[in-house]
Symmetry: C2
Subunit: 194 residues, 2 copies
């Protein structure tokens, strides 16, 4: 890739970011080319120059999300000293993204669940987002002294977060999200050294 960003690459990035938002808010299947083109501010027919198919846009969106997640986790590693604090920062997503969570659920969870039904091949690629969190969470639990239970704890934390986000979207209840976040913080403290 060139050091400079060409106009074509800029448009491509606009498409990816517009699609990323729409796939989250409307779902993959319910987002049309027209929707993406309108949101990205380009003519409809044009972007077959940038992407051969809708599936390719999704793959680019997944890549984009993977990079975002990696950057976020790296930032947490750099700015938060202790592993328990990092885990709690992860839990805090429920509160920071409260409005979106209540409206659309978790972007990872809802995308995976949608793709699991009819687009299994794409879902396995979307699962890589979970894998990034799982590996990172697992490492934090290991640093906390959880040893071989670290990965089990990581998966459990992922699951409870997903459940909280989903039920939040069902009931549109911010108080519930906060209670689940508080409960998880207590659990993180209780799991220390186990």
């Amino acid at each position: 890739m060139a050091a400079t960003t060409s106009k074509g690459q800029r448009i491509r990035q606009q498409i990816v970011e517009a699609a990323n938002t729409l796939f989250y808010q409307r779902g993959y299947n319910q987002t049309s080319f027209s929707d993406i083109a309108a949101a990205a501010g380009i003519p409809r027919g044009n972007f077959y120059y940038h992407f051969r198919s809708k599936d390719q846009i999704l793959e680019a969106v997944i890549e984009f999300r993977l990079l975002s997640i990696e950057g976020m986790l790296q930032e947490w590693d750099d700015s938060i000293e202790r592993p328990a604090g990092r885990l709690k920062r992860y839990v805090k997503i429920l509160l920071n993204e409260e409005q979106d969570m209540l409206r659309y659920g978790c972007p990872m969870g809802s995308l995976n669940l949608e793709l699991a039904k009819t687009r299994l091949a794409l879902q396995s690629r979307a699962a890589a987002m979970f894998e990034l969190f799982r590996t990172w969470l697992s490492r934090q639990f290991r640093l906390m002294g959880c040893g071989e239970r670290a990965d089990e704890h990581a998966l459990h934390l992922l699951a409870v977060m997903q459940g909280a986000a989903l039920l939040g979207a069902v009931y549109k209840d911010a108080g519930f999200l906060r209670r689940e976040a508080a409960r998880l913080e207590d659990w993180i403290d209780s799991v220390r050294g186990q």
Copy 2:
């Protein structure tokens, strides 16, 4: 409603049950009239006699599911003596429906999450399925002596079950479902009288 079941009512029920399965396996948006008609074994154009729109079929499917859930909960009440046993029977869904859970996730959760994005009015009706479980779970926790924390426990149990089902569908990992089920059984015991 008449005591006898007319042919029209039978066909209507066939449509609802076919749609119920397809909405679960493919999702609502990804299920077409053609799909339902083929699965129900009737000509495509025909069933506008039975349902005016696709949304009406979904409403009928939700009604159907609500009745199924009510029947199931009633059966558990009748056949299981102690509230802790009833709660564990609920958790056991993860194991009994293992294959479907790993493939399609939870029927309630995935439908609600899909509808939350673009069909909010229908989602609020689908949320009634959760409400049935919530009320029932809440009652069991109250019987266990959880007092005013009963409803919080009920929501938490719902959330963890949803998270387990979702992550199961992401990772297609039966072992994970079993571990989460075991963890929830322990939690039910630990929560006694709290």
